[in-house]
Amino acid sequence: MLILTCPNCGIAADETELHADGQAHITRHGAGASDDDLETYLFMRNNPKGVHFERWRHVYGCGKWFHAARCTMTLEVFGTYPAQTLEPPKELVAKIKKKRPDWEGFVK
């Protein structure tokens, strides 16, 4: 079971109250992009065993989007943070690095 604290309303929400929307911080290539860029945007995703950054929506609650950093293997949640950002907060990255020294760091 996964419990994520929604940074918009402060509720520690159960996974069943949330909607998962996959990898966070992807670059949106649109009209005019090269075929390779568009393919990357549409189909290519990281699939790490370990630290992962994701988009979630508090669908049965406040209805807002947010970001979460968690481990895909242990389900350990490192933290959640607002949706209005292009990359995870530095403090969160530092916290994860401390817990997982072998982690390669945030890569877009």
Partner: protein
């Protein structure tokens, strides 16, 4: 003028808890900048209540106001007062980005009472129903079974629950089933 009827049409059930149609209630969804002075002022003039803190419910003489999200309130007034309240909001916030809709007939409202209230709700919602986690006067938007609901305790053995009108009958039956005598896990009620 048509005769307004609630989704539950006066339904009642008595078991572990008492479940009752709360009757017609005026409800306005108001979205916009909750930090704006104009919004606080119009909310106060309609309900008498102050702007709630995140997840809070404030009640005063003329109504209640519940915090639903960082940019959404649910304003509750007497049923016949809802249209006028909506018009008042639209007037007070003109020129300011906002949305006010009378949703009175789009919702079903339940009055729930009894000592096993937290146990019954915990059967269908992943909410932490410990009184420390969900104190009186704090609203929780969540799911009950598979349906979106919001509920808040008005005292330790009384709560209001709101859901969409179209699923009101289902939620009533769901609650009645969960409230059958002899079926309490006695978790929260034993801690009282």
């Amino acid at each position: 003028m048509s005769n307004a009827v609630t989704a539950l049409n006066g339904a009642k059930y008595s078991g572990l808890i008492d479940i009752a149609d709360a009757g017609l209630m005026g409800m306005i969804t108001l979205r916009g900048d909750l930090a704006s002075a104009a919004m606080a002022k119009v909310v106060k003039s309609i309900t008498g209540a102050k702007m709630p803190k995140p997840r809070g419910v404030e009640t005063a003489g003329k109504g209640s106001v519940a915090w639903m999200s960082p940019d959404e309130l649910l304003i509750m007034v007497d049923y016949p007062a809802a249209d006028a309240a909506e018009a008042k909001i639209t007037d007070a916030l003109s020129g300011q980005h906002h949305l006010a809709v009378n949703v009175s007939d789009a919702r079903a409202v339940f009055d729930l009472t009894g000592d096993h209230l937290r146990d019954v709700l915990a059967k269908g919602s992943p909410t932490n129903l410990n009184p420390d986690a969900l104190p009186i006067g704090e609203v929780r938007r969540t799911r009950l079974g598979q349906l979106a609901v919001a509920f808040w305790f008005t005292d330790e053995s009384a709560a209001k629950l709101v859901c969409f009108r179209s699923v009101g009958d289902h939620v009533f039956k769901w609650l009645a089933n969960a409230a059958q005598n002899g079926s309490s896990p006695n978790f929260h009620s034993d801690m009282r």
